[in-house]
Symmetry: C2
């Protein structure tokens, strides 16, 4: 399951996507719309900004805005950013690889082999579903 962080990020991105006609959107408005803690959401938006997905304007009249085209924001990117690996095991993660201590030899481990296949097929899905898909339904 996705963490609340990722879930909130998706809601925020959706909100921002729906308000692209406005120059900026307040954290406060997004938080209120979904009943999310303002401060918690703040950290999330900051991460999205650092990842180059959002832009912001400081000071009075400021706020956040989408910096990318919704179809250029795949679910895989949002999930990796807030939740970490998409792979089911550390030993098959492309971005967060770590060996599994209980596995004697990765090269001959059937679990490893199958999980690589699962990872590749899962990535196909999550790289092709984007914020645009969420917005257009």
């Amino acid at each position: 399951m996705l963490s609340k962080k990722t879930k909130y990020a998706l809601h925020a991105l959706t909100y921002l996507g729906k308000h692209r006609d406005e120059k900026t959107v307040l954290i406060h408005d997004i938080a209120e719309e979904h009943g999310i803690s303002h401060k918690f959401l703040e950290n999330i938006l900051l991460e999205l900004k650092k990842a180059g997905i959002l832009g912001s304007k400081k000071g009075k009249g400021g706020g956040y805005y989408l910096i990318k085209d919704p179809k250029e924001i795949p679910l895989s990117k949002v999930i990796r950013l807030l939740d970490g690996p998409i792979a089911l095991l550390p030993c098959v993660s492309l971005n967060y690889y770590e060996p599994c201590s209980e596995c004697k030899d990765e090269a001959t481990c059937g679990i490893n082999k199958v999980m690589i296949q699962v990872r590749d097929e899962t990535l196909k899905i999550l790289e092709n579903k984007t914020l645009e898909d969420i917005l257009k339904t």
Copy 2:
């Protein structure tokens, strides 16, 4: 990512699959083979037994054995049993449904719609990969 419980379960099932010529296998042997806590593994095997995947024999000379054909044990079953939902959000889970508090109306929520699609495609993968796939590699 899968929890250690699920990971250990997969290793145990693999071990049992490889030793199907023997009548029973000791928890101890599986735990030792993978450097897993005996007691922790005990709980896991018990769950697999209750789910009808393993059988056991008590008393001296007892142990565990696979009760199902490896190709009848999909990853989805093992994951659901030890980790819970496969869906990315509670509001799209088939087996563990719960509404999302921050979502005002599921019927019009784009996130919900997309996550249903992700769930269905993910299930296709996890229901078709089985213990047999792990054993044969």
